[in-house]
Symmetry: C2
Subunit: 437 residues, 2 copies
């Protein structure tokens, strides 16, 4: 995993931290990973800040879950009030879930905005798993096309089409991959056609294998592929998917809820009308709540043949968290803030690129930023070692970012949407100091 701590290397750590990590391995086992060469031990959060046990203050430029800020009081209050009133499931009639769905649905536009439905889960993985179950049932097929280094979840089904989990996590035989829209190495204007042609080819292969195309799934910011944000790319792709008889699933777990700045949903930067939209991470600012939005056509046969029940999904408290988070995003104009601060960060990093040869490309949308590090600009050759050094040096200076991409050489910067001008200054000056060091 990019930016994973190596648990065999404890010697350089403070004894108390080394002890905590040994205890963690003993209690949680071998499948958990920590971030950074020196993991961060957190015990308090506020806004864009995290604090360790010694009171050390960190600038959080990585956590997109706490979109409206760590410990946002409006969300805390909404959860507390609802927990003190009622917390139960969707087999009783309750207003809150209906009010939330009614408020959200128009935001999707297109067919979902007109007559779509929302269904509630607890995690983005569950949302993607459900979306695929619906797509497979609707089409009677099982093939799935994703991008080269996609991540869509941790369930058996979604892990099966999440190549970024690594070569030892086998993909389903019914999975085909297409390139990510690498705007650094290709003409951005040609990307849409390039991806659409790849979809057409892979859909043909799925047909030949007897699987057929159930769905194409993409995160419109291509987070684990290395962060690519050229707009309009997915338009031709959606046409190719439809021509092959598949559903288009927009995985908005990363890009949604205003993160991309330009639009509330990332796929809207591509002018497409998906059959299913999945969402999660920032939806309840850390409260486990996620969902899908779907056209009536896509879910009709699933709804009559099957049923869907998720004990905690859409319970009163989950909905209260989601409602409050949405209110803060809208009332505090956080989408506009993402646009403004995102541009400021990209401009600042582009400025640094004039002085530091290692910065090959600066890209992104809103507050989702990728900075590609290279050994040599002309060759665009990935420099994973440099990216890792920067991420860990930033962490030593208490600014939290990470890295991504198939070559692990792309800095990943995606702070809470409440990131301020002063936060951006702090991040930029620290990055400058690290690059200079």
């Amino acid at each position: 995993m990019v930016n994973a701590f190596n648990p065999d290397s404890l010697a350089h750590l403070d004894p108390a931290l080394a002890h905590a990590i040994e205890r963690r391995t003993r209690l949680l086992g071998p499948a958990y990973r920590l971030f950074y060469q020196t993991p961060v031990e957190v015990c308090r959060g506020s806004g864009t800040r995290l604090f360790d046990k010694q009171g050390g203050e960190y600038l959080d430029a990585y956590n997109n879950v706490v979109s409206v800020g760590h410990c946002n009081p409006h969300v805390i209050e909404a959860v507390h009030e609802q927990m003190s009133t009622l917390c139960t499931h969707t087999r009783y009639v309750q207003d809150g879930i209906l009010d939330y769905a009614e408020a959200m649905l128009p935001s999707f536009g297109g067919r979902i905005g007109e007559t779509g439905h929302m269904m509630f889960t607890c995690t983005g993985s569950e949302a993607n798993d459900l979306a695929l179950r619906i797509a497979k049932h609707h089409t009677g097929r099982r093939g799935i096309i994703v991008t080269e280094e996609a991540y869509h979840g941790n369930s058996e089904l979604t892990a099966g089409f999440s190549p970024s989990l690594g070569e030892r996590a086998p993909l389903g035989t019914w999975v085909r991959r297409i390139p990510a829209p690498d705007s650094y190495r290709h003409d951005p204007a040609a990307l849409g056609r390039m991806l659409a042609d790849a979809v057409t080819r892979q859909a043909y292969e799925l047909m030949r294998a007897g699987d057929g195309l159930a769905a194409f799934v993409a995160d419109s910011l291509f987070s684990s592929d290395g962060v690519y944000a050229s707009p309009e790319v997915l338009g031709p792709v959606a046409e190719a998917v439809r021509a092959a008889g598949g559903l288009f699933i927009a995985d908005e777990v990363q890009a949604g809820f205003g993160r991309s700045g330009d639009r509330f949903w990332g796929y809207q930067r591509h002018g497409i009308d998906p059959d299913i939209v999945t969402m999660g991470k920032p939806m309840g600012n850390g409260f486990p709540v996620a969902a899908i939005a779907v056209t009536p056509e896509a879910v009709a046969s699933f709804g009559s043949d099957m049923r869907y029940f998720n004990t905690f999904g859409g319970n009163g408290v989950a909905i209260a968290a989601a409602r409050a988070t949405r209110e803060v995003i809208l009332n505090d104009n956080l989408q506009a803030n993402a646009t403004r601060i995102g541009a400021l960060l990209r401009d600042g990093i582009s400025g640094l690129a004039n002085r530091f040869e290692g910065i090959g490309d600066v890209r992104g949308a809103g507050l989702y930023i990728g900075v590609e590090m290279v050994t040599e600009r002309a060759a665009r050759s990935p420099d994973a070692a440099l990216a890792a050094r920067i991420v860990n040096e930033m962490r030593e200076r208490r600014v939290l970012i990470s890295a991504t991409g198939p070559e692990a050489n792309v800095l990943k910067i995606r702070p809470p949407l409440v990131f301020s001008d002063a936060d951006a200054d702090w991040l930029l000056s620290t990055l400058e100091a690290v690059l200079a060091a």
Copy 2:
């Protein structure tokens, strides 16, 4: 689905409720189901009570999620305090998750109690999905054996081995089924051997199909099979599973956390030492938190080849909810309460059986009770219509229960563990009145 409202039948409803249900269908689509011929519209909960908009008070004898009572103040306070402090994920070092795992692990006894690990998810479905992924990776096989009418989750993988979802939800080709331990129609002393022999036969079939046995999975109270609680039955089954090279997964989503009265975990009533234990529903009293506990051997290869990350799973607030819920269960002796009140309810219903021929069998453990309704006692012929009438008549009198089993004729009574003597009296007197009517 047993006890599902028929949305085509709105004419008998109060216009406001009919409107709410139409709105619900429009916003949430066709895959959601409501309970009862006249659905319940809830807006407040407290202890063992739910309240509707008009202030009508219901006795909740069905919801096993709110194990320590609706709106339990200790859990509310713990969640509020942690939400006000920090809510973030498992890639930073945090004490809470380790303290919780350390407190919990000894409760499992056996190999897990000695050296096992806990891994955190958000839902029971995710826990079972993860458990199966681990079992498949460990064994290199994919076959699964479950009971006839089992339910284990809503993900693609877990729905594939959940026959209770109905005939239109196809099972995986790698699934084989064995009978549930029907203590009403078989000698309880013979059940263990009967099930073990069936496992051996089906494991052989899986081997012949090239799948092999990865795991046997069972809920030790066999909730969706009709509630069977004979102890010791799973001992011979576990031996047969091990002999066939599979893992034994104890699905404790229903039976765990003291529900069965006798023991903290339901599988402990069977004297077995499972490879993986999965848990969910009551773990956070409604907060979305779930987990698995696993032996180091079972998870070793999964942990080195794969990684597991669940954005919300085991976050600080989820752990706070789980910690507080556990504290209430232990401090308020709710396991003992489940034993005492459960026995009182079963005795009371057995008493009613002396006067009402429709009651064929009363069974269960702790506060998980099944009452099998029959048309004729001698023939033990299931009476689903009578069970449905009772469930709906109880609901009209504001006592909430449901029904289960392959023939939908078993009353399912599983109240919060804080159910009191007075609550039991209310339930019994209402049941008596309904049976008399």
